[in-house]
């Protein structure tokens, strides 16, 4: 809750990174995460996962420079879209796969815990 309760919650940082929009979908056997990555080419996307997190760092083809906006940020340049997400349940990082199409990155993360069949007596 810490992050959400902060008064100022920006989607950009002074470190040159913008936060991309993303969507997490909990499917039966896997967690599917998509990221909207405009201005990004497939070869410039880096994905790192652990059992509980997935991180995307995507370098943009050209840096984005926004000027004359806000008070402190008169001129600010962004080179990459970057986001780390905490996953709703543990996944198996070795079995993860990803695809990139029309600026959308889709990562499929198979769940780590095996299902146990329960017979009905």
């Amino acid at each position: 809750m810490g992050m959400e309760r902060r008064i100022i919650r920006t989607t950009w940082g002074y470190d040159g990174n913008l936060e991309p929009l993303y969507e997490v979908e909990d499917k039966e056997d896997e967690i599917s995460v998509t990221f909207d990555l405009p201005r990004v080419r497939k070869e410039n996307v880096e994905i790192n996962t652990t059992e509980n997190t997935v991180e995307v760092i995507a370098r943009m083809s050209d840096a984005v420079c926004w000027e004359r906006w806000g008070s402190t940020q008169k001129r600010i340049t962004f080179q990459a879209l970057r986001k780390q997400i905490r996953l709703p349940e543990p996944i198996d990082p070795e079995k993860a796969s990803a695809s990139f199409k029309n600026g959308i990155l889709r990562i499929n993360l198979p769940k780590g815990r095996r299902k146990v069949f329960i017979p009905i007596e």
Partner: protein, 250 residues
């Protein structure tokens, strides 16, 4: 307090009579908002008014050093565009659409066209989104059929455009929602371009969407914050119901 007073529509320029009114309030994929701003820019529409309400977030916007309301109305003699730079709280939808319908009735609108999106799961695999339409009266549906528009035959529609259709119907105003297949929570300039192309059947603006598609990635980056705000109010807006099957059958 009268319902109409909760939301105030303030005219600030020359408002021509009998226009076609385009509504592009923030909704899925920001389709209407992106389309509406592109139309305003391309048609060089002048600012002719704004909308204020205590139900909207206490936010103003500064453009070129000038203080502005985030909900504004643009237009010329043929067309009027209503747009917003902030997400509309679900509690403001009814008073806002009621006031808007009342106002478009006063200016004698010929037709009201809310532009929005129709979220689909495989949007990333579709290069050219299809546009569906919903009319609010027999006459509107006939016009859609004459213009060979694809009709949304069954289903729920939710959000500002849905209530706008109803409020216009109550005032005997023809309204047509244009819904372009879109990403639910990502800004979708491609869907906005498809919607503008369909709009051409009703309002001959002669707008080339080439630039909108070229600048698509830039727009996506800039629209992230509004998309996020809009997505946050989507559950309360019952957007999920749009994927549901209605119980009635014939």
């Amino acid at each position: 307090m009268e319902m109409e007073e909760v939301v105030r529509i303030v005219e600030e320029g020359v408002v021509h009579k009998n226009p076609i009114v385009i509504e592009g309030l923030p909704d899925v994929g920001l389709v209407g908002t992106i389309a509406a701003s592109y139309i305003v820019e391309k048609m060089n529409y002048k600012e002719i008014g704004y909308i204020e309400s205590d139900l909207f977030p206490p936010v103003m916007v500064v453009h070129g050093g000038e203080l502005k309301n985030p909900l504004r109305i643009y237009g010329n003699e043929g067309g009027v565009v209503v747009l917003s730079e902030v997400a509309i709280p679900p509690s403001a939808i009814y008073p806002l659409t009621t006031a808007l319908a009342e106002w478009v009735k006063e200016i004698g609108a010929k037709l009201v066209i809310p532009i929005t999106g129709l979220p689909i799961e495989n949007r990333m695999d579709i290069s050219k989104p299809e546009v569906f339409a919903v009319g609010n009266s027999e006459e509107a549906v006939k016009e859609l059929k004459d213009k060979q528009m694809e009709l949304l035959e069954e289903g729920f529609i939710a959000g500002p455009h849905a209530i706008m259709l109803r409020e216009c119907y109550k005032r005997e105003l023809n309204a047509i929602s244009l819904l372009a297949q879109c990403f639910p929570v990502y800004p979708d300039p491609g869907a906005a371009a498809a919607a503008i192309e369909s709009l051409e059947k009703f309002l001959k603006l002669g707008i080339d969407v080439e630039e909108l598609l070229e600048k698509g990635e830039e727009i996506k980056l800039k629209a992230r914050d509004l998309m996020r705000q809009t997505a946050l109010s989507a559950p309360e807006m019952q957007k999920g119901v749009e994927q549901d099957m209605p119980i009635m059958y014939r």
